[in-house]
Symmetry: C2
Subunit: 215 residues, 2 copies
DNA sequence: TTTGCTTAATCAATCGTTTGATTAAATTTG
DNA sequence: CAAATTTAATCAAACGATTGATTAAGCAAA
């Protein structure tokens, strides 16, 4: 009973997450979601109060800052700023590519400024994550191991933006890369490694001081 | 008469572009658009046939490849691959920041794969532009002036993705940068210069070979 | 008069939500 | 234990509101 209820709620949330991410909030009707989840329409309101309530629930199940994951790395005094950044990138890319459909949803709905409740919460969490990356890079700049004139705020935009570009428009990314970005297995293995390698090399060559640095 | 009609159509298109980009296609009702444009609702269908027709018209007015802008640069034999890339970045950023609200619309609706007609057209155009950038970078790799193992496809993702991150979620970007990204004047002046400087330095340090290159 | 533009009124369809009835399990009562 | 009562889950049906679209009449200009 308890179990079945939890199962059904989870099934609804799974379907809702997928349908929302495919059709957008407005494009996804409660009838379609309930239909695909094989539950009566009224169950959505019974469990979640409203369509917006369901939307919020989809987020609350998944969204949480991984500040707690990043903190021990950032606080580790044995690691150089660059080593910290490397590990943060690894953790971030791992998490993103596993939940790519969810992050697609996040990015689309956050560009619409509605759903005040959800939006504010997500904005806060995204900001926390962004600021963690910024903090690590600032540390590198401050201790002189990173390029002093580095635009670390735009570096944050690059880290998140490069990922978004692949995730948000998979059919474009597929054509660009010549790979099937819709394939979850490809994302979690080959793409995962490729993005990590690329992000680190890109940022290292920009941030980490070697010798000459002409404009 | 001719003039007034054109004016009215343009006014509708201006409003539609803004409302679509603020609310999304599904979130924007024809009543709201016609209301804000101060025209009768039926005028939308009279001029554009349908809501989707209006949507298409919004795109057709603005979307076109700037391959023609890039071609003379790419074809110029007096320019090195890096010099070509620099100029392409300049042109690209100029164009994007002027039409930021439109590109926000493009990016959201392309992540939803509906509107087959528009989507296919936009995808093609975006691909053309992406492939132009890729071509320039490939040239640099081929002639040995660029890092041979450079992941130029992900470089494309970085160029477009970094821009999207700023444009798509301006309220997040505003908090990250400590600036008002909604301010069109700021975008077209300060942000414009800052993004150009950053993109060039970032890509140059990654692509252009200087001396050592350890992982 | 004919043509092109404009309007208010109206259309069927779909939206998210609510309802009241039904079922089954859990709990209380005798 | 058995009977009575409460609670939770589920459903088909219907609600009012809003959607995009159409109509037919009115209007102005050529």
């Amino acid at each position: 009973m308890e179990k079945e209820k939890a199962d059904k709620k989870d099934r609804i949330l799974d379907v809702a997450e997928r349908v929302f991410s495919e059709m957008g909030y407005d494009g996804a009707s409660t009838r379609l979601i309930s239909g695909e989840a094989n539950v009566n329409m009224a169950m959505l309101n019974y469990y979640f109060g409203s369509k917006e309530g369901l939307f919020v629930a989809v987020f609350e199940r998944k969204i949480y800052s991984f500040k707690t994951l990043l903190q021990p790395i950032i606080g580790d005094e044995n690691l150089s700023p660059w080593e910290k950044l490397e590990r943060c990138i690894d953790i971030y890319i791992d998490r993103i590519l596993i939940n790519s459909c969810f992050h697609k949803l996040v990015n689309r709905e956050i560009s619409l400024n509605r759903h005040g409740e959800v939006n504010d919460k997500i904005t806060d969490i995204l900001m926390v994550n962004a600021l963690e990356f910024k903090k690590v890079m600032q540390e590198g700049v401050d201790n002189g191991s990173f390029f002093e004139a580095a635009d670390i705020e735009l570096c944050v935009a690059t880290i998140f933006g490069t990922k978004n570009y692949i995730i948000n428009a998979p059919h474009i990314a597929s054509r660009l890369l010549g790979k099937d970005v819709f394939d979850q297995h490809f994302l979690e293995t080959e793409m995962n490694q490729r993005m990590k390698t690329y992000m680190k090399r890109l940022l290292k060559s920009y941030l980490v001081i070697t010798n000459d640095r002409t404009n």
